[in-house]
Subunit: 214 residues, 2 copies
């Protein structure tokens, strides 16, 4: 499914913009590797995979590279995204300052709580009842689910039936996806649990080092 190369390609792109803003014109695979935490070979391998070529001895022209990468990533147009659930996490996403630069526009938020509704805000927040209509009238294709787990399945069903093709789900619940829609489940609790495991493992290791010396 080529997920990892695509993620790295996005990283390269963001690094390229930073290099560009520093006034650089050319870049080497080595620089890009450093910037994203990969290896130079992997950078070139990724480019090769997507049919991007550079100049032997001369690296890559940042401007050329950017236009090629942006084309592959489909960055030619702005993508409208909706956020369902206007709690802390939903608000965090709606207020994320980096989205315009990424070609992402948060078109609206939705919530079931009447207190949260605000039709006049820069990013308006509508009642959940209007979700289906909004997706339809604005031909929304990408959505974020940031509601409590009990509400997630219902929201998901509406999205699927309205032809949404990409969902990032933050509810701690595995949403079953058919082939018509890509779902990325992000579980913040699980992220913490995992890092705690590795932290404990390192903790133990460090103590052992102290005793035995290594």
């Amino acid at each position: 499914m080529y997920k990892k190369p695509i993620i790295r390609l996005s990283r390269y792109k963001n690094a390229l913009y930073r290099f560009k803003s520093l006034g650089l014109v050319r870049i080497f695979s080595d620089n890009l590797a450093d910037a994203v935490g990969a290896t130079a070979v992997q950078v070139r391998k990724d480019f090769s995979f997507f049919g991007i070529t550079g100049n032997k001895r001369g690296g890559y022209l940042i401007e050329d590279l950017l236009s090629k990468v942006n084309e592959i990533l489909g960055k030619d147009k702005i993508t409208k995204v909706i956020v369902v659930g206007a709690g802390h996490l939903g608000s965090a996403l709606m207020n994320y300052k980096g989205f315009p630069q990424l070609g992402i526009q948060i078109a609206a938020g939705f919530d079931i709580d009447p207190v949260k509704i605000n039709r006049k805000a820069p990013i308006p927040i509508f009642p959940l009842d209007e979700l289906r209509d909004f997706i339809r009238t604005h031909t929304i294709k990408v959505a974020v689910i940031a509601v409590p787990d009990i509400a997630a399945q219902q929201v998901f069903n509406i999205m699927i039936s309205e032809g949404i093709t990409g969902i990032v789900n933050f509810a701690p619940l595995r949403l079953k996806t058919d082939k018509k829609c890509a779902v990325h489940n992000v579980n913040l609790g699980l992220e913490l649990e995992t890092i705690i495991y590795f932290a404990n493992a390192l903790e133990k290791e460090n103590h052992e080092d102290g005793h035995f010396k290594s």
Copy 2:
């Protein structure tokens, strides 16, 4: 580094608690696979990897399985975690209701903005100045970075120098880790960018299906 098996083990654990709360006593690899979106073989393979055995024909006793999994995951004690950055995302994490059940206790939050300080709250929020002391006096080992990217490196340096061994970093910035500390970089912008790519790909596919039939 066995990261993936550990993540799945956490998922199994959470599923097991759900099964247990339904009154079940025994469970089969098949059930667990369904619950976490894996295959039965993979469940057994994972268990085998960690030295967990069941009963041929009889599956696994949920209670036994839980105690073994919890032991491997180091779930015998509560882990204190701090959250640095009390913006939307930091607040989302501090208010996450699921943590106590996961053996995670958010001990405190930290922010540079005086308005956010609240020493008396159930989860107190202290000024960033006090971060170093707090880590030291409370022997904190795991932390979350939820500050803007410009502040992230500085916060990170304090954490490393105070011996933190696990960090989940939400700042869109790659924090270089030495071997003494496990760092998990979560980039919400990148998550959305990635899903947009796959959504566009599916979109194209669906249209082609419409034209050519497949």
